[in-house]
Symmetry: C2
């Protein structure tokens, strides 16, 4: 059977699993009337936001599709639209489960910790499987249609460009969703805290706070829908880039070309099956450790994936010891070892992230300790930890690059990245669980449920902070590998399209340095824009809530309900407005740099600077993103650690300082940091598309 059809078929169980489990989640107890009322307010808000966000993105999307159709033809335009629509769909469906699972998790937590965990994790698993399944089906299906019914050669330009355009569609949605959702969630969170906790002196999630629903909506549109779009994009770009690199770089494959290009799809396919199996192992053991339950699920998936991938290799390649390719040559075993490197990187990144964000280790505790001496020392220690947290992941990535390159050159690096992403179903499941428990806690609080329920949802939520940080570290680490693959695609395209232009990518060429510097600047500028956007939007929230308090004194007395929808609507408008300019930065920067440097120093230096820019973005973006996401997670859990009764507990001076750190960490870890990942990819893809357009 055609290998890409097999990949599509392997993707289907993810969809079936998703449908089956969503039904199960939806059929469970939705709680009492009050809980349902709150949950439906969150649902409405989240849907209203997502609708408006997608409408805005659609405008950009239609313009982009037309530009692609004009410059690169209709196949690319269709690829772009498929990538964009499915990326949006993954986020939309995931969020719709999430906003229904939150109230059911709160209801289940009334029975016990295991019940709450099961429901929250299952709803997360729906999102996880949909992300991986839809991404796999999209890329495998496109490859099938292009190579079989349309009978295009697998390594033809049309196929390569369609795959790139597919990734571009996903990336463009993803940056808007990550950033827009990130601004929404943190503006609502920070705004609600400032005006509620600080000014009015009411606790978090108090129903009298008009911004409380917006805060819960934010968890869903940011941490669920935004994250899902991001990982969908990462999956598509990584697997797509591996296929494109195979097509561009490996000559003389002959009949082995189609199997070699399909192999990444099959790896993704079998890992969907192992991920589904893994979800059934997420159960509390006798230690009642929630993180332990998560680890169990992940480890089962990772370990089962090893023989599964080996089977796929043997099926696709036949003789594992035969040398593959002419220009670059390695055996099936070499390539298989590269996928193992990818799995090991994933495990190590998870472990390192847990170390830097878990409450039981030195980093978080050092921040908690520093909170005793005040707000300033909490922030200083948090910043120091956030910078330190970049070291180990970078060394792991470097070791991965060296190991896989030694085994099988650039293709080896691509396979390591593909294997990392193959586990996306499981990793996203762990992550998407977070906003559900966060919401469940809010609903429990607002509906006045028993304190034991809130204690259970809080325990679930603390692990959510770590798993959220894990996914971001994982996404950015895989982006580090994927960026190398995309850069290789760029240089290969360059020699193919412009054989006469002698581009000097050596560090001795000052235009390479110029490109590296501009590239390195982008994450800083982008991060700054994201952080100020949150500040501005949070300011709007504060103003709106103050007005509501002033106009209706019954709100604080609890005699009249605040206008939640008005605040949601306000944050929606603010987030949508704020997301546009930063999102366009990585789209236009490569184009401007190419033309500016070409104007000053000729086309060969324009190409050199543009290529260097692509690597500059990842070299600086890796550190910006890792420091922001780990640091933010550590700050959040340092606060939780103090709330658990250390250093004076809730209400102490140390706690106040820790709340400041948490507030600082919010836009770090949920807005600016994670959006760097799609930003890196967009920059790279725009450069590839620019080459294609220039070559026309």
């Amino acid at each position: 059977m055609n290998l890409s059809i097999i990949a599509v078929l392997l993707g289907l169980p993810a969809i079936i699993y998703g449908i089956f489990i969503s039904r199960k989640v939806l059929s469970s107890d939705p709680g009492n009337e009050e809980m349902q009322r709150i949950a439906s307010a969150i649902q409405e808000g989240a849907q209203a936001y997502l609708l408006r966000q997608y409408l805005t993105i659609a405008i950009v999307g239609v313009v982009t599709a037309m530009v692609l159709a004009i410059f690169l033809g209709w196949i690319s335009a269709i690829g772009f639209v498929i990538g964009a629509v499915l990326s949006g769909a993954a986020g939309f469906i995931g969020m719709n489960i999430s906003v229904r699972a939150n109230v059911r998790t709160a209801a289940a937590a009334r029975s016990g910790l295991q019940e709450g965990l099961t429901l929250a994790f299952q709803s997360g698993a729906v999102t996880g499987m949909l992300v991986a399944g839809l991404a796999l089906i999209a890329i495998a299906g496109s490859f099938y249609v292009l190579t079989v019914p349309m009978a295009l050669a697998a390594n033809s330009r049309a196929v390569v460009e369609a795959l790139v355009a597919l990734a571009f569609g996903a990336s463009l949605i993803s940056i808007f969703a990550r950033l827009g959702g990130g601004i929404f969630t943190k503006a609502a969170d920070v705004g609600a805290d400032l005006v509620g906790k600080v000014e009015a002196g009411i606790p978090e999630d108090d129903p009298r706070n008009p911004a409380v629903i917006a805060d819960n909506v934010g968890d869903n549109v940011g941490d669920c829908a935004g994250m899902a779009a991001d990982l969908f994009e990462t999956y598509l770009v990584t697997v797509g880039a591996t296929m494109v690199l195979t097509a561009l770089l490996m000559t003389g494959l002959g009949d082995a070309l189609v199997p070699m290009m399909s192999l990444p799809l099959l790896i993704g396919g079998v890992c969907i099956i192992t991920s589904i199996i893994g979800t059934f192992f997420v159960r509390l053991g006798s230690s009642q450790s929630i993180m332990g339950a998560m680890y169990k699920g992940f480890l089962v998936t990772a370990i089962l994936s090893i023989p599964a991938i080996l089977v796929v290799f043997q099926y696709a390649l036949g003789d594992m010891s035969a040398s593959i390719g002419q220009s670059i040559s390695f055996t099936g075993w070499d390539l298989f070892l590269c996928t193992l490197i990818g799995l090991v990187i994933t495990g190590l990144i998870i472990w390192i992230t847990e170390y830097y964000t878990g409450t039981q280790y030195r980093p978080v505790r050092s921040i908690a300790k520093a909170s005793e001496t005040g707000h300033g020392t909490n922030v200083i220690q948090g910043l120091a930890i956030s910078m330190e947290a970049t070291a180990l992941p970078t060394l792991v990535i470097i070791a991965g690059i060296i190991g896989s390159y030694q085994l099988a050159g650039l293709i080896g690096i691509a396979y390591a990245a593909t294997a990392m992403l193959a586990l996306a179903g499981m990793v996203v499941a762990l992550d998407a669980y977070g906003p559900v428990t966060d919401n469940a806690g809010g609903i429990a609080e607002m509906a006045g449920l028993d304190d034991t329920v809130r204690a259970r949802t809080d325990a679930l939520d603390a692990v959510g902070n770590t798993t959220k940080a894990v996914t971001k570290g994982y996404a950015i680490a895989s982006a580090g590998l994927a960026a190398l693959v995309l850069f290789a695609a760029y240089t290969t395209d360059l020699t193919e399209f412009f054989p006469g232009v002698d581009v000097n990518f050596s560090l001795e060429n000052p235009y390479v340095i110029v490109g590296l510097l501009i590239g390195a600047l982008l994450p800083y500028l982008f991060g700054s824009m994201g952080m100020t956007a949150v500040g501005r939007a949070a300011g709007d929230v504060v103003k709106d809530v103050r007005e509501q308090f002033a106009n209706d004194s019954g709100i604080m007395l609890g005699t009249s309900k605040p206008n939640y929808a008005r605040t949601v609507d306000m944050v929606t408008k603010a987030a949508i407005k704020e997301m546009v300019v930063p999102s366009l930065l990585p789209v236009f920067a490569p184009v401007i740099v190419y033309f500016a440097i070409t104007f000053v120093a000729g086309q060969q230096n324009g190409f050199a600077a543009l290529g260097a820019l692509l690597l500059g973005v990842i070299i600086s973006g890796l550190f910006v993103a890792l420091s922001m996401t780990s640091g933010g997670g550590a700050w959040d859990n340092a606060k939780k650690y103090i709330e658990d009764g250390h250093h004076g507990g809730k209400g102490s001076e140390a706690h106040k300082a820790a709340v400041t750190g948490d507030t600082v960490g919010d836009p770090y870890k949920d807005t600016a940091g994670p959006a760097v990942n799609p930003m890196i990819k967009i920059t790279n893809i725009v450069a590839l598309l620019l080459l294609s357009a220039l070559a026309m």
Copy 2:
């Protein structure tokens, strides 16, 4: 006359100016008995710290000198010792003036703002002129001794290595001084604030606080001695690298070699004269603007430097329109234009830094405004501004690289950097003025002088925050250019020493990416270490002060004196202990990376990774340093802006939030950020020395 002798002679007026003005400063009114008593406590503390710091560095220095003598010969070892001793001397003498000028400035401020400004600026000018003068005399004198009495060829290995070793000596002192001084000053500052302002509720600079003298000592050992060593190093490395690059890169110069190598020295020489002239123009105009007075002095220096440099060019080269060099060729006019680019970069960096740290512009005001909504939003906005503040300086540096490269290749970039550093005398003068006014304010407070005196010293001090940020931006921007020059020296050395090794510096080589990533990691790790060191040392201060309060209740009542010396001694020990490990990071990292990658992937990739590491350090270090120094300055002045009566003024909630931001900014701008500059240079120089040693 021999051109390097002329350069030495041009350096002498700086020394004479220094002696003359120090006498003038020392002969002015030292204030009343109480003021003198406080000042002498600061003097003693500062001298005790510096003595212990130099003893520690001396151990490292002697070991390093022996290693150099064994691997590279005694000429290099002597060069290293000269660089190290003079770097230490510049810091030591500057600090000794500073700790005497502080009390005299407080005394002079009793008469008026102009009187205070004159005294503080003159003492700063002594440090400035000594830094530039000693650096010029060291390098010009060494070049003269090597080429005339010792009759070595100007482009011989011995001369090149001696110049590199001279720079290494200065750099090694500089990183210890910057970091040790930075840790001291911020540990004392943060510790004093935490235990005084926050816990005991006594104002800043209150004499009852046992850490108050340590705080004032810190200003001198960090902001004065540390900064002076840093700029001394920057001067030596930049001018030295330009000479080395000329020797290595330009073939076929014939008789023009010595004039071409001496030209950077002469540029430095005439700019010392223009800097001295400029100091006389630092006077308040009718607007009473202190920053305006500073600008006047700088502008006079910059504008006078243009014709002065032109005269030097014509004197050294004769025909300005003749083509110079064979392998690379340009005219004297081209090179002259490159120096103008350097002057313009300096002006723009000053202007941009003032924009980002001055109280009258958007960035500082946005942080002040964000303080209204709390500690968290203050820090978020401050971080956003610190990231944004990297953009314009980077674009200016990029434009400078492109412009000077287009005119005269890498030599052009080197000349732009040399022209930047030629103004060091004036720039350091503006900076060294800062700690004097800061101390003067402290002395005025402790000695109970009239409030109008404190108001005057506060006005002087606010400008000091900006000029301090300016110097750091200037140093790191010049480091950006110097790093390119040093990288060129590295690659040229490589082809000379290892003609058989084909090193591929292309971005397509994964070991180049590995090197870039490791290099980019170093500033993050270094910054993290610096920040935690401050946190730990500040914690020690808090403990010591708490103990003193507990053991003697008379301290808070004002009936007995706290033991200032004990706290100073404690911070001294802590700072010295904490500075060693981070300072050795840039020394060992290049060596480890070279051997590790050579082991894994062969020597050619070891060299490639090491070269890439050098650029990775600058690409990430530039952003880390720029964001930290500008952000820290902005936080500090946002607090000052609020204290001037905006957003509720002193004691308001906004003020408390601004104090938090200021505390966070302290280790950012005075410890971790500025130390990145010598760190970049050390990494580069160690790589050059490693090549020489490997070639033996």
